[in-house]
């Protein structure tokens, strides 16, 4: 049946949990595009026949193929766009330099998109007042204490703990 391959692309992403990026299915995409080309060409010839040969009975078939074409396009764009969203999340998770394992899962064009995105984001952050701007990819959680696992004598800490400046880490 038509659109099987396109559905497979969507299912592939649906199966991958949030944040994970499976390898780019270049083969799958190519097959969908080929199917679209074939459908379109069949439609073209049928449309000509319908017009010149008066074959009105071909119209439902033409409509059906057109629907398949639209479905294929929708699935393809959804697949590509969802991947972009996952890649975007990677910038916020891992920073500017992606781990190699993830890079191998991206196509060359996706890498290019990622580089443009990084640059755009950097330009924006730099523009946020002051000389260096504000790196908003830092400070993802509210600051709880100023020092991380600082060992202080108890009598010094007591006041500070009560004031909530420090937290007593019982580990």
């Amino acid at each position: 049946m038509f659109c099987e391959k396109a559905m497979e692309l969507v299912r592939e992403l649906h199966r991958a949990p949030e944040g994970q990026l499976p390898a780019f299915n270049e083969d799958g995409l190519r097959q969908v595009l080929e199917e679209m080309k074939a459908l379109y060409e069949q439609n073209q010839s049928d449309v000509n026949e319908a017009k010149s040969g008066g074959r009105g009975d071909l119209i439902p078939t033409i409509k059906f193929r057109h629907c398949s074409l639209l479905r294929n396009r929708r699935c393809t764009v959804a697949y590509l766009y969802d991947r972009l969203l996952r890649i975007r999340a990677l910038r916020w998770e891992y920073g500017s330099v992606l781990p190699n394992a993830l890079r191998f899962h991206m196509s060359a064009e996706e890498m290019e998109w990622f580089n443009h995105y990084k640059k755009s984001l950097a330009t924006y952050m730099r523009s946020l007042g002051g000389d260096e701007g504000l790196d908003i990819t830092q400070d993802m959680k509210p600051p709880k204490s100023l020092y991380i696992e600082h060992f202080l004598p108890r009598w010094k800490c007591e006041q500070l703990i009560r004031q909530g400046i420090l937290e007593h880490v019982l580990s």
């Binding site: 995409l29 595009l33 679209m36 080309k37 379109y40 074409l69 639209l70 396009r73 393809t76 764009v77 590509l80 766009y81 972009l84 975007r88 196509s107 064009e109 996706e110 290019e112 998109w113 443009h116 995105y117 755009s120 984001l121 330009t123 924006y124 523009s127 946020l128 007042g129 002051g130 504000l134 908003i136 830092q138 400070d139 959680k141 509210p142 600051p143 100023l146 010094k156 006041q159 004031q163 400046i165």
Partner: protein
Amino acid sequence: MNEKFAPELLESKCEIVECVMEQLEHMLSTVTKHEIPVNIWISASHEQSKNMSSLAPHFFRRATDRSREENLRRARKGDLKVSIHRMEMERIRYVLSSYLRCRLTKIEKFFPHVLEKEKTRREGESSSLSPEEFAFAKEYMANTETYLKNVALKHMPPNLQKVDLLRSVPKPDLDSYVFLRVKERQENILVEPETDEQRDYVIDLEEGSQHLIRYKTIAPLVASGAVQLI
């Protein structure tokens, strides 16, 4: 806070952002001199939004606590002032970052609609985007469109190569419910029906009361500051 709970992108508050950034820089420079400009911070907070000024009383309380424990503190006096100062800075930086991040996420999520809204904005109406955000949004759109075109669309049949992003990308859901607290009394707010069986009715919002209501109904009140989203 309003930005976090609103389903759509709210008006850009450039002045406040700039003000806060300036404060941060000022505080940074004074920390290195081991001073605490308590008076400066308190007075500046009055100019800034309510969220920022809620940090000020906390800071002030620390100062009075300290004055009671002078003997104990003397040895670490300079150190403590600096720590507390730094703490405030970290918190401010966090709130600011969080706010800007929230806005950026919304811009990316609704990019065709945000740009369309900006394009059709009337003269004199205030913008939801700062100039930098606008530039970012345009770049994001161009980047994504170019990618989709090169990877898939240009290989498709000629009549299918254009994708209307305004229709494909979901719009912000203005009908989503939000919690709010009323700051200024409002009268005669028209609540539109959700289903056909209901009729519209009118409510009054008392100062200090809290409600759960559809965002669309009270959107202008959020913009004017009459209500606060919680």
